[in-house]
C-alpha cells in the first residue's frame, strides 16, 4: 500500500514541529504580558482587594478582609438587577445573532462588493459609541417621521434600550460571523446535499458547526460587554432602570462606596468567567460534533 506510510510520517512530523522547530522566542509575548499585568491584572487585584474592605467615613477604606460586601449584595434587590442585566445581555446576543447571521451569510456567500459592504458594517465605528448612541435620541423622538407614523413613543423606554443595544452591538456580531463564514468551503454544503441533506439539514449539520467558532466569538463579544453596559441604559433608557453597569457606577460615583462597588464588579467578573467557560465548552463540543 503506497499510501499508508504518509499518515504516520505526517503525524510524526507534526509532533516534531510542536516539540522544537518553529518556536517563537518567549520574549515576543512580553510587551503584551507587561501591559496586561500592569493595566488589567493589577487593577483587577485592587478591585478584588477592595471588595473585601470596608467603607469608613465618607470615602475611606479599611482593609478588614471580610465578606460583608458580598453578604450585603446577597439581597433580592441586587438579584433583580443581575437578572435584568442577564436578560439584556441574552436578548442582545440572541437578537444580534438572529439579525447578523443571515446578513453575514449572504455577505460571505453571495454578496458582490464585499469590501464596500464590510466597510459599511464597520463605518459606525468611525464615530464614537457615545455620539452614535446620542444620535438615537433624535431617531427615537416621537417627533421623528418613522415613529410619528407608527405613533410610537419609545424614548426612555426599555424598548429604546433594546433597540440601542442591537444597533450598537450588531457589527461586533457580524464581523466574527463573516470571518467564519468567509472561510467556509461551500462545496461542503453541496456535498451534504449530494449525500441527501436538504438545505435545512445541510445548514444544521455542516454550515452551523463550521460557523460555530464565529458564533461563539460573536456571542462573547456581544454578551460580555453587555453585562457591564452603562451608556445605553443611561442615554436611551433615561437612566430609569438599574443594570449592573449603572449599579457599579452608582457605588463609585454617588455613594463613594468603592468596596461595595468592587464586590459587585467581582460578582460580574465571576459570572462572565462562567459564561466564557460555558461558551468555550460549546465551541469545543462543536469541534467534535458528530454529523
Amino acid at each position: 500500500m503506497v499510501e499508508e506510510a504518509p499518515v504516520l510520517t505526517a503525524r510524526r512530523g507534526r509532533r516534531r514541529t510542536r516539540g522544537g522547530g518553529l518556536r517563537y522566542p518567549a520574549w515576543l509575548a512580553l510587551p503584551a504580558l507587561a501591559w496586561y499585568g500592569a493595566f488589567f491584572l493589577a487593577p483587577l487585584a485592587f478591585i478584588c482587594a477592595y471588595s473585601f474592605a470596608e467603607l469608613t467615613g465618607f470615602a475611606g477604606v479599611d482593609f478588614t478582609w471580610n465578606l460583608e460586601n458580598y453578604r450585603y449584595l446577597w439581597d433580592p434587590l441586587y438579584g433583580e438587577v443581575f437578572l435584568r442585566t442577564l436578560g439584556l445581555a441574552s436578548f442582545g446576543t440572541a437578537a444580534t445573532l438572529a439579525i447578523g447571521f443571515p446578513f453575514a451569510y449572504w455577505l460571505a456567500r453571495y454578496a458582490r462588493a464585499k469590501t464596500l459592504l464590510l466597510l459599511l458594517v464597520v463605518l459606525p465605528f468611525w464615530t464614537s459609541f457615545l455620539i452614535r448612541t446620542y444620535a438615537w435620541l433624535i431617531i427615537l423622538d416621537p417627533g421623528f417621521p418613522l415613529f410619528r407614523a407608527l405613533d410610537a413613543d419609545l424614548l426612555y423606554s426599555t424598548q429604546a434600550i433594546y433597540i440601542g443595544v442591537v444597533y450598537n452591538y450588531l457589527p461586533l456580531m457580524v464581523l466574527p460571523l463573516y470571518a467564519a463564514l468567509e472561510r467556509m468551503d461551500w462545496s461542503l454544503v453541496e456535498a451534504a446535499g449530494d449525500l441527501g441533506d436538504n438545505a435545512f439539514r445541510a445548514f444544521r449539520r455542516v454550515t452551523l458547526p463550521l460557523a460555530l467558532p464565529g458564533i461563539v466569538a460573536g456571542s462573547l463579544l456581544v454578551f460580555i460587554p453587555l453585562t457591564g453596559e452603562y451608556l445605553i441604559p443611561v442615554i436611551l433608557g433615561g437612566n430609569k432602570t438599574a443594570y449592573t453597569g449603572t449599579l457599579i457606577a452608582q457605588q463609585f460615583s454617588e455613594a463613594h462606596d468603592w468596596p461595595f462597588g468592587s464586590a459587585i464588579a467581582m460578582v460580574v467578573i465571576a459570572g462572565m468567567t462562567v459564561v466564557l467557560v460555558a461558551f468555550s465548552r460549546i465551541a469545543a463540543r462543536g469541534e467534535v460534533a458528530s454529523g
Partner: protein, 368 residues
C-alpha cells in the same frame, strides 16, 4: 421637531451636557488618565485649573491672562467624587479646583488641600457677602473661598403647566396625575431623596431609617410617571417641551427660561442650598497663580461677567455687582433668590450612614 435644538446647539453648564458627557465616557472606561500625572514642570505664570466643565466664562480666561500674564491650563472633572478619586489617587500639579461644600470638608479631612492665604486676596475680603464667610463646611476659612452658589428645586414650563406649582407636594401630585410621563428628576441621590424628605417635613440630610423609608415610598410611587432620571438631558427636554417639569438646579432653570417660558421654583417646604468653593489641591505647583485668579474674579465687574454666563448666584455683595448686571439677571429669583427663601434651605451634609441608606433606596427606585 420645531422646538428641538440640534445636539450641537445645546446649552452647557456646570452640571450640564459637557460634564455629563465626560462622565459617561469616564464611566464607560474610556476616560484617559489625567494630564495631572504627566504635567510638565509648570512655567512660571501658568495656572492649572481643575474644574467642572463650562463653569467659567471663556472671556474671563483671556481677560485674566491679559491682565496678569498668567496662562491657564484646563482640566475638567465630572463630579465631586471624581475630583476626590483623582486627588486621592495621587494626581498632583493642579493649582485650583472647585468642589461643592461637603467635598471641601472631605478633601480637608483627607489632607488633600493647601491652605488659603487671605492676605493675597484683598478683593475677596473687600467684596464678599458676609453670608459666605465661615461656611459650616470650613468654619475657619482655612481651605476654601466661595465661588458660586445655588439651589435645588424644580423647573416648569409656564406655558404648559397652568397650575403654577409652588411646593414639592404639588410637583409630586402633578407628576402622578396630569403630567405623568412628562417629568424628569436629577440623576443625583441626595437631591432627589432630600427633596422628598423636605416635602415630608424632614431634614434634607436625615439619617433616620423611618424617615428615609417614607421618602422611598414617595419615590417608588413617583417612578412610573417619570420620563427620565437625568442631570444632563433635562434642560433640553424642557426646552423641547418633551418634559414640562423637572427637578433640577437654579442655573439650569435660568438657562431654560432664557429660551422658553419657564419658571424655577424653590419649593415652600425648602430644599438644598449648595456652595461651590475654590480650593488649592495638595501639591499645587503655583498657588500664587491660584490666589491671583480668585482675587481677580472677586472684582465686581469681573464677577458679573461670570454670573451673566453661568446664571449661578454670586458670593459678592449684591450692591457691588448690581451696576454690572442686566436687570433681567439681577431681578431673576432663580439667580438671586429672596432672602426668606434661603432661610429654609439646607446644604448637603449627609452622613456616611445616610449615604449608604440612600444608595440602597436609589437602587430600589431604579428597580421599580
Amino acid at each position: 421637531m420645531d422646538e428641538q435644538h440640534p445636539l450641537w446647539e445645546r446649552p452647557f453648564d456646570r452640571k450640564g451636557f459637557v460634564a455629563g458627557t465626560a462622565a459617561l465616557i469616564a464611566a464607560a472606561g474610556l476616560g484617559r488618565v489625567g494630564d495631572a500625572f504627566a504635567a510638565p514642570a509648570a512655567p512660571s505664570g501658568q495656572l492649572f485649573y481643575y474644574n467642572w466643565a463650562d463653569y467659567v466664562n471663556p472671556a474671563t480666561y483671556k481677560a485674566f491672562t491679559n491682565k496678569t500674564g498668567i496662562t491657564v491650563k484646563k482640566d475638567f472633572y465630572v463630579s465631586n467624587e471624581a475630583l476626590l478619586a483623582k486627588l486621592k489617587g495621587g494626581a498632583r500639579g493642579y493649582d485650583l479646583a472647585v468642589p461643592t461644600g461637603y467635598m471641601v470638608q472631605i478633601l480637608a479631612q483627607e489632607k488633600l488641600l493647601e491652605p488659603i492665604r487671605w492676605a493675597k486676596l484683598p478683593n475677596v475680603t473687600r467684596n464678599i457677602n458676609s453670608k459666605f464667610r465661615h461656611l459650616p463646611f470650613d468654619a475657619n476659612e482655612r481651605w476654601s473661598v466661595a465661588k458660586d452658589w445655588g439651589t435645588t428645586g424644580f423647573i416648569y414650563r409656564t406655558d404648559k403647566v397652568k397650575e403654577r406649582p409652588t411646593t414639592w407636594r404639588e410637583f409630586v401630585n402633578l407628576t402622578k396625575t396630569k403630567y405623568s410621563g412628562k417629568v424628569t428628576v436629577l440623576d443625583g441621590i441626595p437631591e432627589v431623596i432630600g427633596s422628598m424628605l423636605v416635602m415630608l417635613g424632614y431634614s434634607y440630610n436625615s439619617d433616620s431609617r423611618s424617615e428615609l423609608d417614607k421618602a422611598k415610598k414617595e419615590l417608588l410611587a413617583l417612578k412610573p410617571h417619570l420620563l427620565a432620571i437625568t442631570s444632563t438631558e433635562y434642560k433640553q427636554l424642557l426646552i423641547s417641551g418633551r418634559a414640562v417639569m423637572g427637578l433640577g438646579w437654579n442655573g439650569d432653570g435660568a438657562a431654560v427660561a432664557a429660551k422658553k417660558p419657564a419658571a424655577y421654583v424653590v419649593p415652600k417646604e425648602g430644599g438644598e442650598f449648595w456652595v461651590d468653593s475654590y480650593v488649592i489641591p495638595k501639591g499645587a505647583k503655583n498657588p500664587d497663580a491660584a490666589h491671583a485668579w480668585i482675587n481677580y474674579v472677586y472684582g465686581p465687574k469681573q464677577n458679573s461677567v461670570e454670573t451673566s454666563y453661568t446664571y449661578y448666584g454670586t458670593p459678592l455683595k449684591p450692591a457691588l455687582v448690581k451696576p454690572h448686571l442686566t436687570n433681567a439677571i439681577f431681578t431673576n429669583p432663580a439667580v438671586f433668590p429672596p432672602v426668606r427663601t434661603l432661610a429654609k434651605l439646607e446644604p448637603n451634609k449627609v452622613s456616611p450612614r445616610g449615604t449608604a441608606l440612600r444608595s440602597r433606596i436609589w437602587t430600589e427606585f431604579k428597580n421599580a
